[in-house]
């Protein structure tokens, strides 16, 4: 029983961070229609930012997470401005290729800067409270995201942009800025997820690959542009992985994400949660 509880807690912790990854990507992929294969690299960036803050600068955990968010947002904004904006008229395949390029470049840059050996990120608390702490922070960030999207003017402007761009523009919304903000926000969430999970596991340059795929898995499960769907999907994936690894086989734990993608796309392409409306 205790083991089951442990698995459930781990699953929720994992799920909470997957939810953050998924919300970020559902905004980028679901709304901006950008196939962001580099999403996982922002996750890695967040983990390394946390490592730098905690391990090198000796700051506390909150600061580390904030640093990660800041890095993610900044780099995300730069990417959007320099790479995506000029290509906005192009087909989705073109932006996909560009993001693949960013993916490769970022991962190998990280390899060069930090080396290939996994880094253990020092954490201020012993293991058990850390995971709970991570879960609480993740939940807090999810709630914050909701509030941002639904109660602030910025969030309203974002939703308007992606529901009907021309009308939004006529109403005075700066479309370009909304795209940049959305991409930065999504990337920041990914970085936050990395900072949260980094101390739980290890930080290594290729951690982003699986993170990207799992994020896509969550987005597909929850439905594109569907925030509650992404949250639920993230939790489901986390639980599925943990319970699967605990009771079925640990070697195949990462297969859960792949299998979800394949099954959902083949059987229920709109996702498990059939809400028609986009954005929350």
């Amino acid at each position: 029983m205790a083991e089951l509880l442990q698995h459930l807690v781990n699953g929720l912790v994992l799920g909470g961070t997957y939810a953050l990854l998924g919300i970020g990507l559902t905004l980028i992929f679901g709304l901006m229609n950008v196939v962001n294969f580099a999403h996982g690299e922002f996750y890695t960036l967040g983990a390394y930012a946390a490592f730098a803050a905690l391990g090198l600068a000796g700051a506390n955990f909150f600061v580390a997470v904030l640093a990660a968010i800041a890095c993610g947002a900044a780099l995300g904004a730069v990417c959007e401005l320099t790479l995506l904006r000029p290509l906005r008229a192009e087909s989705i395949d073109t932006t996909m290729l560009v993001m693949i390029g960013v993916w490769i470049a970022m991962q190998n840059a990280e390899l060069l800067v930090w080396g290939g050996v996994a880094k253990s990120i020092p954490h201020p608390f012993p293991t058990a409270p850390l995971r709970v702490f991570v879960l609480v922070l993740a939940a807090g960030l999810i709630v914050l995201s909701y509030l941002l999207i639904h109660t602030t003017r910025l969030g309203t402007a974002m939703r308007a942009t992606f529901q009907d761009r021309d009308t939004a523009a006529l109403m005075g919304v700066r479309i370009g800025r909304m795209h940049t903000v959305t991409f930065a926000f999504g990337s920041a969430l990914a970085a936050a997820a990395g900072a949260l999970l980094g101390p739980v596991f290890l930080a290594y340059p290729s951690m982003g690959d699986l993170a990207s795929l799992k994020a896509f898995s969550v987005v597909i499960l929850g439905g594109l542009g569907n925030l509650p769907g992404a949250t639920l999907g993230g939790l489901l994936l986390g639980l599925a992985e943990e319970l699967g690894a605990g009771y079925v086989s640990s070697g195949y734990r990462d297969a859960a994400g792949f299998v979800i993608i394949i099954l959902v796309l083949l059987l229920r392409p709109a996702g498990l949660f059939r809400k028609q409306e986009r954005i929350g």
Partner: protein, 311 residues
């Protein structure tokens, strides 16, 4: 290119092992040949039907493992193992084609990545069959009658024949009614259907042929390096394939060949100077730059330049 130039090129290619004695360079050429086949196969899906598959490493790996396992365990001849490898890879291609036929664009890409991911996990975890991360050493070299093809000079001709075969298949397909159907699907699927092009059928066909070719490349790779491990599923190979096709020129036949040679020779040339990470970093930046500045690839750009500067 003109007849005389073509004849000279053919002569050079056919006599290559005679004048390129350095085994290292010969190795590079052989690897470039194997990658050409991979690039041609990916080009069929990406360049002609317009579907990006990032899971081609799966077909490559299936071909490599099948060929290796059949020649190691039951000790079949390479000449029997090769068609089996091709067939199994083609079957995998058929499954992906049939199952993923409803999906387009990013979704198709995701399914191909997931498929490759699952296959990679299987190869690592199914120890009884694949020996897991340790891999399968000692894969025998092909034997043709009394001659062993183990030596690089002999293997070169095997790979050359395979490249020619792959090129011929692609060329015939592309220049035919089938090739036109592929392009129609890429350009305007609804319109293609309205004039009788069964999109499902042709996408599956492209997937099968593409996978079969990748499987052939896998088998050739296995019997050349004589060692197969889950490393064949490394995403780096897939990335390299994509760069070869995109940089060379997707939707052309010469493009993948040019791309394969450049991006096999280049890493080798750079190996002495920089590390693998710098190379891959450059690849990433290069891919972005290509999309912005040379979206159609090298071969079409060169052709356009020659047309503009024609006397």
């Amino acid at each position: 290119m003109s007849g005389a130039r073509r004849a000279v090129l053919a002569l050079l290619v056919l006599t290559l092992p005679l004048w390129l004695a350095n085994p290292y360079f010969l190795h590079v050429v052989i690897m470039a040949g194997i990658f050409s086949i991979l690039a041609l196969s990916l080009n069929l899906l990406l360049g002609y039907t317009g579907q990006l598959s990032l899971g081609h490493a799966a077909f490559f790996g299936i071909g490599a493992y099948t060929s290796a396992l059949l020649t190691l365990g039951p000790e079949w001849s390479f000449w029997l193992a090769l068609p089996c490898a091709i067939a199994l890879a083609a079957l995998a291609g058929f499954l992906i084609g049939r199952l993923a036929l409803k999906l387009r664009g990013a979704y198709f890409v995701l399914v191909t990545i997931s498929f490759a991911g699952v296959i990679a996990l299987v190869s690592v975890n199914w120890m009884e069959l694949t020996n897991g991360p340790l891999g399968l050493p000692g894969v025998p070299a092909p034997v043709l009658g009394p001659w062993s093809l183990r030596a690089k000079r002999a293997y070169y001709y095997l790979v050359l024949a395979a490249v020619l075969l792959a090129y011929l298949v692609c060329r015939r397909l592309v220049g035919s009614r089938i090739g036109r159907a592929f392009v129609a699907i890429r350009e305007n699927e609804a319109l293609a259907e309205s004039v009788g092009v069964d999109v499902t059928h042709y996408l599956v066909l492209a997937a099968v042929v593409s996978a079969a070719m990748a499987g052939m490349a896998g088998s050739l790779y296995a019997h050349y390096t004589r060692f197969v491990s889950p490393e064949v599923f490394l995403f780096g190979y897939t990335v390299t394939m994509v760069i070869m096709v995109v940089a060379g020129g997707k939707g052309t036949l010469a493009g993948p060949l040019v791309g394969a040679f450049i991006f096999t020779a280049l890493p080798e040339a750079l190996r002495a100077v920089t590390s693998w990470q710098w190379q891959m970093l450059t690849y990433g930046v290069l891919l972005v730059a290509l999309v912005f500045f040379l979206p159609r690839g090298i071969v079409p750009a060169v052709r356009a330049w020659r047309v503009r500067n024609a006397p």
